[in-house]
């Protein structure tokens, strides 16, 4: 059985201007130990999808609906607030872009780590402290025992993000959601964190949802990727499927406008315009106004999710095989 099953997830927000359909019919499953990338522009629904899974959307003005939302045998739509609260930070953990805003500035790092351990794993003071030291060592913080008494501001950005990862992993989560977790960090520190996450998924079997706008990171870290646009999944597949055989006009555009450090490219191709207003009802492909490869059919009907090969599907009418290439291997 899959660790996480999401079917037709719809998350809406009531605003003064009308109802914003931030997530509009997202479906996917996640197996144990799998690393799934969520990519897309700001406002494409990546973060709202993950916040909906954690039920961290304030209702109202938000409203989460789905045909199915099951994590590790628990129906997240029906779960009580106390069940959710023991899942969060327990079996489901999340790390955000800005660790300074997630950590409490007036408590020592040790206190914040042991708090989680005592609450979720019911460890006593000594055991929690020992485990906290172990965790800080695992994420590569030098002088772990001494650093337990430090406050968040006494750590560098990279070290703070490690502390967040240590807290997130403290209760052996089955699912780790990382929302732009390395975006604010320098590339050398980013490489350290990605290396750490890879090692942890391999050693502990944790499943990961990695939200990022950085296609390079996703290519190196994830097994599968969902490309999101306007609150929907535009394309889904293994990273090789999506990067070498992109089958949605948006994916093709996204790859074309990403510069690569290993080659001098031609001028970057452009995706003109901006994403649609999610208040207006969508009747055709939401990417159509910006699409460089649209065909007649795109002006007539909304494309359904077409399966291209097992595990690879896209919502696109156009035949994009001219953009396909073999892997570099």
């Amino acid at each position: 059985m899959a660790l996480l099953e999401v079917e037709n997830l719809r998350t809406r927000f009531a605003t003064d201007r009308g109802v914003v359909r931030a997530v509009d019919g997202v479906s996917f499953t996640l197996e144990q130990g799998e690393v799934l990338g969520l990519v897309g522009e700001s406002g494409s629904g990546k973060s709202v999808t993950s916040l909906s899974l954690m039920r961290l959307i304030r209702e109202p003005p938000g409203k989460i609906e789905a045909d199915k939302l099951v994590f590790d045998g628990v129906d997240l739509l029906k779960a009580s607030e106390s069940t959710m609260s023991s899942l969060r930070g327990g079996k489901m953990a999340m790390i955000f872009q800005d660790p300074m805003r997630s950590l409490n500035p007036v408590l020592t790092v040790g206190r914040q780590l042991t708090e989680t351990l005592r609450r979720h794993l019911r460890l006593d003071g000594d055991a929690a402290r020992r485990r906290a030291i172990e965790l800080l060592e695992m994420v590569g913080i030098p002088l772990a025992e001494k650093r337990l008494n430090s406050y968040p501001h006494q750590f560098s950005g990279g070290m703070r993000q490690r502390v967040m990862i240590a807290i997130a992993l403290s209760c052996n989560p089955r699912l780790l959601i990382a929302d732009e977790a390395t975006t604010a960090l320098d590339v050398t520190i980013q490489a350290q964190i990605v290396d750490l996450v890879k090692r942890l998924t391999r050693d502990l079997g944790t499943a990961v949802i990695w939200i990022s706008h950085d296609l390079g990171l996703v290519a190196g870290l994830c097994n599968r990727v969902n490309v999101m646009y306007a609150g929907r999944i535009a394309e889904t597949g293994s990273v090789r499927d999506v990067f070498y055989r992109p089958s949605h006009g948006y994916t093709v555009g996204l790859i074309g406008c990403t510069p690569r450090v290993d080659r001098v490219g031609a001028p970057l191709t452009l995706i003109e315009g901006r994403p649609p207003d999610l208040i207006r009802p969508i009747s055709l492909c939401p990417f159509l106004p910006r699409c460089a490869v649209a065909i007649d059919a795109c002006n007539k009907t909304m494309p359904a999710m077409n399966t291209i090969e097992a595990g690879h599907a896209a919502r696109c009418h156009a035949d994009l095989s001219v953009f396909h290439q073999k892997g570099a291997a």
Partner: protein, 333 residues
């Protein structure tokens, strides 16, 4: 015309007083500590390195937004560090800057049209009725319409705000623009739009760019030459091809290896040089080579000698005592 490069920076140093400790003086934070380079019009110098390496401070010093401690900045032969404050305004007509957070650099109470005509007014350019026509032309140049002139900064998307910032910089017809992480906060699709715009404008107006960024993929795309900075120093400098195909300094190689590439098979195959730890404090840099505390191929003599810049090619220099070892052992692709 004057001989020599358009801009020449010689041994630039910017030291800030460090916060005092219990025992009195805190010494100096050497944010920039001996940086030299030249740049011609129509060309782009990429300045790369981690946060705290001094790349932005270098950029700000060139406009004298920060007063350097010592060194020379020659624009067509004239040392601008010798200019009195009163003569800085004409200087700034020749040099402009755009920032990462363009939204924050625009006055929220002024509509876009006024933001741009203010720049013209300050420098007494295009007086009278011509000014409005000039603003329209400038908006057009950066891909905005006349309607945008009525909008306030909060009504703009990130990409539009950056276009306005570029437009305002161009208004005074500068020769050099310092671009400080101009696309780092933007979505990739918008980032590509701004990068292409900057490149088109450069060709059209023969602009020199100092392009400061931590994103080496973008830097490779836009730069003619690249300088890699570490703790206030340029550790390696070369033309684009040499840096990306034959970087010699272990830090440059580590930095390149850390950049991810949007290609699953390439990512799977390549080796990464993972640096341990963080950047040391610029208040108290390591003795000898500043990179030695994180260097994967460090030797004993690295602590003893501050490595001089060695020329590997006429236009390629690297400051490392063990370049050969670096080239042999550290692979990044």
């Amino acid at each position: 015309m004057t001989a020599g490069p358009f801009i020449e920076v010689k041994d630039l140093k910017v030291h800030f007083p460090a916060p005092k400790n219990l025992f009195g003086s805190g010494g100096a934070i050497k944010a920039v500590d001996g940086v030299s380079f030249t740049l011609e019009r129509g060309r782009t110098l990429g300045l790369v390195g981690e946060s705290g390496c001094g790349k932005s401070t270098t950029g700000y010093s060139i406009l004298r937004l920060i007063e350097p401690t010592s060194g020379q900045i020659l624009i067509e032969g004239q040392d601008i560090l010798q200019l009195p404050q009163s003569q800085l305004r004409p200087l700034r007509r020749r040099m402009q800057i755009i920032f990462q957070d363009a939204g924050a650099s625009l006055d929220p109470r002024m509509p876009v049209g006024d933001l741009i005509s203010e720049a013209l007014e300050i420098h007494g350019l295009w007086p009278g009725a011509d000014r409005r026509r000039r603003v329209r032309k400038l908006l057009d140049l950066v891909g905005l319409s006349t309607q945008h002139a009525e909008r306030y900064p909060h009504e703009l998307s990130g990409g539009q705000a950056q276009r306005v910032a570029i437009c305002r910089a161009l208004a005074v017809e500068p020769q050099l623009i310092v671009c400080d992480e101009p696309v780092s906060a933007l979505d990739v699709s918008v980032q590509a739009q701004i990068v292409n715009l900057l490149q088109d404008l450069q060709k059209e107006l023969n602009l020199a760019y100092i392009f400061i960024s931590h994103d080496l993929s973008v830097v490779r795309h836009v730069s003619d030459e690249i300088a890699v900075m570490y703790l206030g120093r340029i550790v390696e400098k070369a033309d684009r091809k040499r840096i990306f195909e034959g970087a010699a300094h272990p830090y440059s190689r580590s930095l390149l290896s850390a950049v991810s590439i949007p290609d699953p098979d390439v990512e799977q195959r390549r080796r990464r040089i993972i640096l341990s730890g963080d950047l040391p404090s610029p208040a108290n840099p390591p003795s000898g080579c500043r990179f030695r505390t994180r260097c994967p191929i460090v030797e004993e003599d690295c602590a003893l000698h501050d490595p001089p810049t060695r020329l590997l090619e006429p236009t390629h220099g690297a400051a490392c005592l063990h370049i050969q070892k670096s080239q042999e052992l550290l692979k990044w692709t």
